[in-house]
C-alpha cells in the first residue's frame, strides 16, 4: 500500500461516526432552523414562504411566557434540590475507602440505567392517592395528601432522576481536593462547618457548576416525568412543543418554539455563570 494511501486510510476510522453525526445530527438541527421560518399550513407540512410570524406570535403570547416561566421554575427548583441531596453523597463517596467506593458507585449508577419510565412508575406506585405513602398516612390517622398530578410529584420525580448526574459531577472534583487542606483549617481552629464552607466547598465549585448546569439543562427539556407525574395539570415547554408538532401538526410553530426556548435556556445559563463568577471574585 502506498504511504499516502495508508495515511488517508487511517482517517477512515473516524468516518462512520462522523458521517452519522453530520447527516443525522447536524443536518436535522439546521433543518429545524430552516423550518422555523416557513409558513405553517393546514394542508401541507409547511409552505415554502419565508416568514418571521412564528417567532413574533410566540413572543407576543403571554400564555407562552407563562409556560416558559413555569418550566424555568421547575428547572431551578429541581437543580437546587438535587444539589442539596447530592452533595453529601458526593462528599461521602469521594472520601470513602476504595472498596466501599466501588460498592457505592453501583448504587449511584444503577438508577441511571433503569429507564426513566420505570423509575417514574415506581414513584406513581408510591405517590398516587391510593399509593403506599398515603396508605401509611391514613393508617396513622392522617389525611391523604395529593402527592402526584401536581408540581410536587414532578419535582420529586425530576430530582430523583438527576441526583446521580450531580453526584458524578461533584465527586470527581472533591476527590481531587487534598483532605489535608481541611485538616489544616481545623487544626488552625476553624469549626467543621467553617472549614467546609471556606475550604472544601469553594474548591469543589467547578464540579458544582458543571453539575448544576447539566441538571438544569436536562430538567427543562425533560418530557416523560412532567407528563406522567404532572398529569394534565403541569404544562412545560417540551410538552407544549411536542403537542404543537404531533397533535396540531404545526411544524414551523413548534420548531420556532423549540429554538426560542433553547436560546432562553442558554441565556439563563450565561446569566448564572456570570453571577457565579462575580460571587467568586468578591468572596
Amino acid at each position: 500500500m502506498p504511504a499516502a494511501l495508508r495515511i488517508w486510510g487511517r482517517h477512515l476510522l473516524i468516518l462512520p461516526a462522523l458521517a452519522v453525526l453530520a447527516v443525522f445530527f447536524v443536518a436535522p438541527y439546521l433543518n429545524l432552523l430552516v423550518i422555523s421560518v416557513m409558513t405553517p399550513s393546514p394542508r401541507a407540512a409547511y409552505l415554502r414562504i419565508l416568514t418571521l410570524a412564528n417567532y413574533t406570535r410566540l413572543v407576543r403570547d403571554p400564555f407562552t411566557w407563562g409556560v416558559v416561566w413555569h418550566t424555568m421554575w421547575l428547572g431551578i427548583a429541581t437543580t437546587a434540590l438535587s444539589l442539596l441531596l447530592a452533595y453529601p453523597l458526593a462528599y461521602h463517596l469521594a472520601r470513602a475507602t476504595r472498596r466501599l467506593r466501588a460498592g457505592l458507585m453501583v448504587l449511584v449508577i444503577s438508577p441511571l440505567l433503569v429507564g426513566v419510565l420505570i423509575r417514574t412508575y415506581g414513584w406513581m406506585i408510591l405517590l398516587q392517592d391510593t399509593g403506599l405513602i398515603n396508605q401509611v398516612l391514613r393508617a396513622l390517622g392522617f389525611r391523604a395528601v395529593p402527592l402526584m398530578y401536581n408540581n410536587l410529584g414532578v419535582l420529586i420525580g425530576l430530582t430523583h432522576v438527576f441526583i446521580p448526574f450531580m453526584v458524578l459531577a461533584i465527586a470527581g472534583t472533591i476527590q481531587n481536593i487534598d483532605p489535608g487542606l481541611e485538616l489544616a483549617a481545623r487544626s488552625l481552629g476553624a469549626g467543621a462547618w467553617r472549614a467546609f464552607w471556606r475550604v472544601t466547598f469553594p474548591l469543589s465549585l467547578p464540579g458544582v457548576i458543571a453539575g448544576t448546569v447539566l441538571v438544569f439543562v436536562l430538567t427543562v427539556s425533560s418530557y416523560v416525568i412532567p407528563s406522567l407525574l404532572g398529569g394534565f395539570t403541569v404544562l412545560t415547554v417540551p410538552i407544549l412543543v411536542v403537542r404543537t408538532i404531533t397533535e396540531l401538526f404545526n411544524w414551523p410553530g413548534g420548531s420556532a418554539f423549540a429554538i426560542v426556548f433553547f436560546a432562553i435556556t442558554l441565556v439563563a445559563l450565561w446569566l448564572y455563570l456570570r453571577l457565579i463568577g462575580r460571587a467568586a471574585r468578591t468572596a
Partner: protein, 266 residues
C-alpha cells in the same frame, strides 16, 4: 480529623439519600412480585401472576421483542463506530481533537426530545415518513455512540502506544496488530461500551416517542401509553426486566473498567 458526631450526621444524610434513590426501583420489583393489583402493607403474598399476564399480553411481548431487536442492531453499529472514533481521536486527533470530541458527545448534551423533533422533520423532508425502523436505528445510534466513545476512550488513555509500535516493528500488519495487540487490551472497554449502548437503546424514550409508529413501538413507548391510563402491575414486570438488566450492566462494567473511570476519565 472529622469528629465522630459530624461523621454520624453525614452518614445519616447519606443513607437517607440512598434510600430515596433506590425506593422507586425496589417498589417496582415488589409490585411485580405482589399478588394483588395494588401494593399494600402488609403485602398480600408472593405471586408470579403478573409475569404470566405480561407474557400473555401481545402488545407487551411484541414491543419487548421489537426493543431487543432494535437495541441489538444499534449496539453493533454504535460499538463499531464509537470504538473506531475513539481509536482515531486518541491517536491522530491533532488540532481537531477538542472540536471532534465535543461533536461526538453533543447528542448527549442537547435535549433528546429536541433531537427527536429535528429527526422527525428531517426524515419527513427525506421522504421517509413516520414509523421507519431505519429512523429509529439511526436516532438511537446517535445517542449510543457517545457512550461507547467515552468508555473506550477512558480505557485507551491508559493504553501504552509503544506496544503497538513494537508489534508493527516486528513485522505485523496494521490489522494483525489491532487484532492481536490492541483489541485484547481494550476489550473490557469495548464490551462495557457495547453493554451501555444496549441498555441506552433499550430504555430510550424521547427519540422513540417521536419516531415510533404502528408496528414499530419500542417497549418504553408501549409502557408510556399504558401508564397514562392504568397502574396495573403488568408494567412492573417490564420494569423488573429492565432493572435486572441494569444490575448486570453495572456489575459487569465495574469488573471490566471500574465505574470510577466514568467520572475521573480514566
Amino acid at each position: 480529623m472529622v469528629r465522630r458526631s459530624e461523621r454520624v450526621w453525614l452518614n445519616i444524610a447519606v443513607v437517607l439519600v440512598y434510600a430515596f434513590l433506590l425506593a422507586p426501583i425496589v417498589i417496582v420489583v415488589l409490585a411485580a412480585l405482589n399478588s394483588g393489583a395494588y401494593l399494600r402493607f402488609p403485602p398480600e403474598g408472593l405471586s408470579f401472576r403478573w409475569f404470566a399476564a405480561f407474557a400473555q399480553s401481545r402488545s407487551f411481548t411484541r414491543s419487548l421483542a421489537f426493543s431487543l431487536r432494535l437495541a441489538a442492531i444499534v449496539t453493533v453499529i454504535a460499538t463499531v463506530a464509537g470504538t473506531m472514533a475513539s481509536l482515531w481521536l486518541v491517536r491522530f486527533g491533532g488540532r481537531l481533537r477538542t472540536t471532534l470530541r465535543l461533536l461526538l458527545i453533543a447528542p448527549l448534551a442537547v435535549p433528546g426530545i429536541l433531537t427527536g423533533i429535528a429527526l422527525l422533520i428531517f426524515f419527513y423532508a427525506l421522504g421517509w415518513g413516520k414509523s421507519g425502523f431505519a429512523g429509529l436505528i439511526l436516532g438511537h445510534t446517535l445517542i449510543c455512540i457517545p457512550y461507547v466513545f467515552l468508555i473506550v476512550s477512558a480505557v485507551l488513555v491508559r493504553f501504552d502506544l509503544s506496544l503497538e509500535e513494537a508489534a508493527r516493528n516486528l513485522g505485523a500488519s496494521a490489522f494483525t496488530t489491532f487484532r492481536r495487540v490492541t483489541l485484547p487490551l481494550i476489550k473490557g472497554g469495548v464490551i462495557s461500551g457495547a453493554i451501555f449502548a444496549f441498555v441506552t437503546s433499550y430504555d430510550e424514550f424521547n427519540i422513540s416517542l417521536l419516531l415510533s409508529g404502528v408496528g414499530t413501538t419500542p417497549l418504553p413507548i408501549q409502557l408510556f401509553d399504558f401508564l397514562r391510563f392504568s397502574f396495573d402491575p403488568t408494567a412492573a414486570v417490564a420494569g423488573t426486566i429492565s432493572i435486572a438488566m441494569a444490575l448486570v450492566v453495572v456489575l459487569v462494567t465495574q469488573r471490566l473498567v471500574g465505574l470510577e473511570s466514568l467520572y475521573t476519565g480514566g
